[in-house]
């Protein structure tokens, strides 16, 4: 098996004096969807932040064989890591089209082909490109965030709680699109999700975080069959 696209080895992170990650290790294979599960405060969001460099971290993070140790968030974006943060990171004061152009900020030349491609997944965005992003509904904003990350043509997409505050029908739609992007374009995704059922269905593999440690990992099928995962996260 070739080296994974993203590898975390013994990564620690803290906010001021508060240690959040106590040496976690995980790997994301190119072309796969990997999910991170765990209770609130386990360090799921911080894991994504450590990867994109929005929190101080120690330990080894390698992306495509390259160390991310000294790479900040804008550098991570330039390397092809698109991080959709919790709360979506939408520029609500800007228009839909400006949000999409920002997604492709690190790309040179015309982004028209990227926009066409994104509009083929999200046809309604095309009609609303002049609308202020803040006037979109929560679900629409989440789709916009995904579209914005996607115009970058990222090598790795980091998604933080994409289902938060969305109606079930939209959550299903969202995961369908993520799955489609993965199957048709080979997009690699690392997704943090409360809805373990949906996440494990979409993902190839998963990690369970508790109090800053990886307590369990494996293929989605294995995790779904695991008794503790079933009790704690799947609810049956």
């Amino acid at each position: 098996m070739s080296a994974a696209l993203l590898e975390l080895e013994d990564v620690e992170a803290r906010y001021g004096p508060v240690h959040v990650l106590h040496g976690i290790s995980l790997a994301v294979e190119e072309g796969s969807i990997v999910t991170v599960l765990g209770p609130n405060g386990a360090g799921k969001t911080t894991t994504l932040r450590a990867i994109s460099g929005t929190v101080r971290r120690a330990g080894n993070i390698r992306f495509g064989g390259r160390s991310l140790q000294r790479v900040g968030p804008d550098g991570a974006a330039r390397l092809g890591i698109a991080h959709v943060p919790e709360g979506r990171g939408t520029f609500s004061e800007l228009t839909v089209s400006e949000n999409l152009r920002l997604g492709a900020y690190t790309r040179r030349g015309s982004i028209q082909p990227e926009l066409e491609r994104v509009f083929s997944y999200f046809p309604w965005l095309s009609e609303r490109r002049r609308q202020q992003a803040g006037t979109l509904s929560g679900g629409e904003q989440q789709m916009l965030a995904l579209a914005r990350a996607f115009v970058l043509r990222p090598r790795l997409l980091l998604l933080d709680e994409p289902s938060l505050g969305l109606a079930p029908v939209l959550v299903a739609e969202l995961f369908r699109i993520i799955r489609e992007l993965n199957e048709e374009e080979g997009l690699t995704v690392l997704v943090v999700e409360q809805n373990a059922h949906l996440a494990l269905q979409a993902a190839d593999a998963g990690y369970v975080l508790e109090a800053g440690h990886v307590v369990l990992s494996g293929s989605s099928a294995d995790l779904m069959a695991d008794d503790s995962v079933r009790r704690s996260y799947l609810g049956y």
């Binding site: 994109s52 929005t54 900040g72 968030p73 804008d74 991570a76 974006a77 330039r78 698109a82 991080h83 943060p85 990171g89 939408t90 520029f91 609500s92 004061e93 800007l94 400006e98 152009r101 920002l102 997604g103 900020y105 690190t106 999200f122 046809p123 309604w124 609303r128 609308q131 202020q132 803040g134 006037t135 979109l136 509904s137 929560g138 679900g139 629409e140 904003q141 789709m143 914005r148 970058l152 505050g165 109606a167 029908v169 939209l170 739609e173």
Partner: protein, 340 residues
Amino acid sequence: MVTAATSRLEGLRGRAIDPGATTVVLLLLGVAVFLLVGCLQSKNFAQYTIQGIALGSVYGSLALALVLVYRATHVINFAQGELAMFTTYIAYELMLHGFSYWAAFAATLAIAFVLGTVLQVTIIRPVQHRSVIATVIVTVGLFVLIDGVVNWIWGGDLKSMKSPFGNGFFVVGGVAIQHLYVGMVIVVFASAVLVWALFRFTKLGLGMRAAALRPAAASLVGVRVDSMLAIGWGLAAVLGGVAGLMAEPSQFLLTPTFMQPILVYAFAAAVLGGLESPAGALIGGLLIGVMLTLLVGYEPHIGPITITSELQLPFSFVVLLLILLVKPSGLFGRREVRRV
């Protein structure tokens, strides 16, 4: 499907309309009608109004510089006026060395840009993340520093530059309009339009707006936030430079303190405009300029009291105070539309 699910929100599409916007538009229309009627009634009134518009555009230009910095870093740059004064001295020096007015003008604005950028990187950036108050204190320090340096290099005596627009005037309906006033308005508005176009139509401008609105989210899409803020300071210094260069030939002779009253008027203009609104800063500048000029020029006698130019500064403070008390968000204060 998304399209089906979201079509229920069809009724909520489009930009939300700010209920206060209509009031503001009516108010401004009222002012415009008042000024127009005044100008038609009295040549004297028209004369002062025109002068007020020209001076107001200068205040607006400096106010715009304050707004750019405020939007980017949420601090008021108290040294903005002194920075403009410094760059005006540079233009003066260049002309002494044989530069033509417009060559000196262009070179000065380029120097202003570099100066603004370098100042942000060297003295603002290190304190910016600590606290707003620390940053403000640094700008006050910068004010004193520039003042000292200029006095040391050029001394405190009056200097003057030749007017870039000559001493001619147009006569329109019996009212003399100096070329200078027309020139000032054109130069200020042309620079404002250029800056607006930069923000509105270029990728750099988009990155700057993103960095100012949401620094964290902007860096996640690859925007170099620190560079954007530095460029923002550079652009503010350019607009301040325009204000200094246009103020000098009109009314204010070149001294180390000549931008200080203008800074106060620019504060009033920026606050009147809403502090976050570039268009508001320009309109605020025009309003303040016309108000102050008419106040001391047109009908300076209220009963036994004669209003002289000494009262312009206190008056602009009263305006500032009234806005802060009555409508702190100003005429065009940003009301964010956000639905989660």
